[in-house]
Amino acid sequence: MASVPVARRRRFEDFSWVDFIINALRFIIIALVIIGSANTLLSGRFTFEQWVSLFVAGLAQGSIYALIALGYTLVYGILLMINFAHGEVFMSGALTTVFLAHAFDRSGFLNSQPLLAIIILIIFAGLVSMSVALLLERLAYRPLRSAPRLVPLITAIGASFFLQYTFRGFFGSQFRSYPAVDALKGSLEIGTINIPIVQPVVFIAALVLMGGLYWLVERTKLGKAMRAVSEDKEVSRLMGIDIDQIIMFTFAIGGMLAGAAGVINGLFRPQGVNFFMGFVPGIKAFTAAVLGGIGNIRGAMLGGLFLGVIEAVGPNLIFNGLGIPGSNQLKDVIAFTMLVLVLIFRPQGLLGERLTEKKA
């Protein structure tokens, strides 16, 4: 047909340097990852056991990211807004609960009834974080519901600082740490592989919470209403759904998961609890949410686990093989490089749909 050569010529004229550079970048990154990984694996610097324990540690860390990432993704699904103060919601639960955890430790309750004590701590932290998330929604975001989308985003950043320094005002800026739980001190021996018992515990606890969320969203009336609102607010109202109520529920659930993640995180890495502790996990969880496809619940879970594993395995696997020194300290580089790469090459994330399909 006559139109084919025209189309072909058009394609040639459409050649863009931006596309060229992006494709070259894609190629270079893939090449670096392959070369680095091949080098490391061929050199035999790490044993199989070491890889497995890195992987398991990554899953544990990743499940914490996933719990926080769910808060980002739930809110985005409903409001198309990134709640950048969500890291502080996580911090508020983790920081407040440290005191309760020490009280339990001093009274001996933590070590005599570890399971019950941890569940109480998780619920307490969940309630604290939920209250913070609800206040945030009511005071900072709801008045801006009809404002241009940039406005609540900037407000979120402001709210984030507000929360950080409010909690610094309450509790000071010194680092605290969660008390050690005797029951979680040992490690599991599976053949020659040695895994600290706390890691599978963290992973399973997170899995239980995520299962609960999945049940809530898929099976309950409230979950159906949440999915309806995320698809079409106007029609949802015609069905009799109170949009404000659903938005509040969404913030509450995201907050509870973040608070629970705060305690679970405290079991996993007890140190470093202070007013600023939410920042890095918050950004990492945001990365995980984008990685999985923001607005997609399964995506956030998968993205969190994936990010945790790649952070744990990646530095040794890729950077070591490229001869980069101190590779273990470069896990943040991996996380944020991933964020940039996802935004360039697959903005919809692993499981998400194109962002352009969603409209404000």
Partner: protein, 237 residues
């Protein structure tokens, strides 16, 4: 007293005066249609009745209660349900979940189950696809789903916004047959439609809307014979 009374409503989009003092009513058991060309204010009228937007002036009463400012999400429990323009089904939810959401305000699981099986009797196609995601349905099936979903609220007044939009002629006939059947079973219907011929075919009375004003109001049969209406909306020379 009419079931629905709309008195002198004025609605605006910014500075644009979209509804200029609309007054009409719908009696119990009727099919009333609002016809008119694009931009005449048909959809705006329905949006105002369902409080998706508020009029600046005027009053809307349903069964004698003032519902002018009743929030949209309170209307299903008061007896008003709408099939929105473009169907508005939740495409990522299953057929069954869509129907359940239609009954959102209700707390009688047995009644909801009964009504769901009734709507599957009315629309057997939906029964076959009950666990399917609604976005995979054809246009006609989606329209059936939208109507079935509105009926799940057990309304006493059903508002329909352009049910023929985007449907093949055969399907349009099916949809209109369905509307007629629902009406004979006792449902009062307010139908907004661009396809004036079909709308006047099944309606008892009709109003002709033009740039936010009612220019004609009469029995459907009389309107159909009106030369003005024939020329403008029925395509008869």
């Amino acid at each position: 007293m009419a079931l629905l009374e709309v008195e002198n409503i004025h609605a605006y989009y910014g500075n644009i005066h979209a509804l200029k003092g609309l007054t009409f009513h719908v009696e119990q058991g009727e099919i009333v249609t609002l016809i008119g060309s694009n931009g005449a204010g048909k959809t705006t009228t329905l949006r105002t009745i369902t409080s998706l937007m508020h009029p600046r002036d005027g009053k809307i009463t349903f069964e004698g209660n003032d519902i002018t400012y009743t929030p949209a999400n309170k209307l299903p429990s008061q007896g008003v349900a709408m099939v929105p323009e473009g169907r508005g089904i939740f495409s990522k939810l299953t057929v069954e979940e869509n129907l359940e959401l239609g009954a959102y305000y209700r707390n009688d699981p047995d009644g909801i189950r009964q009504d769901m099986s009734n709507s599957f009797d009315l629309f057997p196609r939906l029964k076959e696809r009950r666990t399917q995601v609604a976005g995979t349905l054809s246009g006609g099936e989606q329209q059936m789903l939208a109507i079935a979903r509105a009926l799940m609220a057990k309304p006493r007044l059903l508002l329909l916004d352009e049910p023929s939009m985007g449907l093949a002629p055969v399907l349009v006939d099916t949809v209109f047959d369905t509307i007629e059947r629902i009406n004979t079973e006792g449902m009062t219907v307010l139908l907004v439609e661009q396809n004036a011929l079909l709308a006047l075919e099944i309606a008892d009375r009709g109003y002709v809307l033009q740039t936010g004003e009612i220019v004609l109001a009469d029995d459907a049969a009389t309107l159909k014979k009106n030369p003005e209406v024939q020329k403008k909306y029925l395509g008869v020379d």
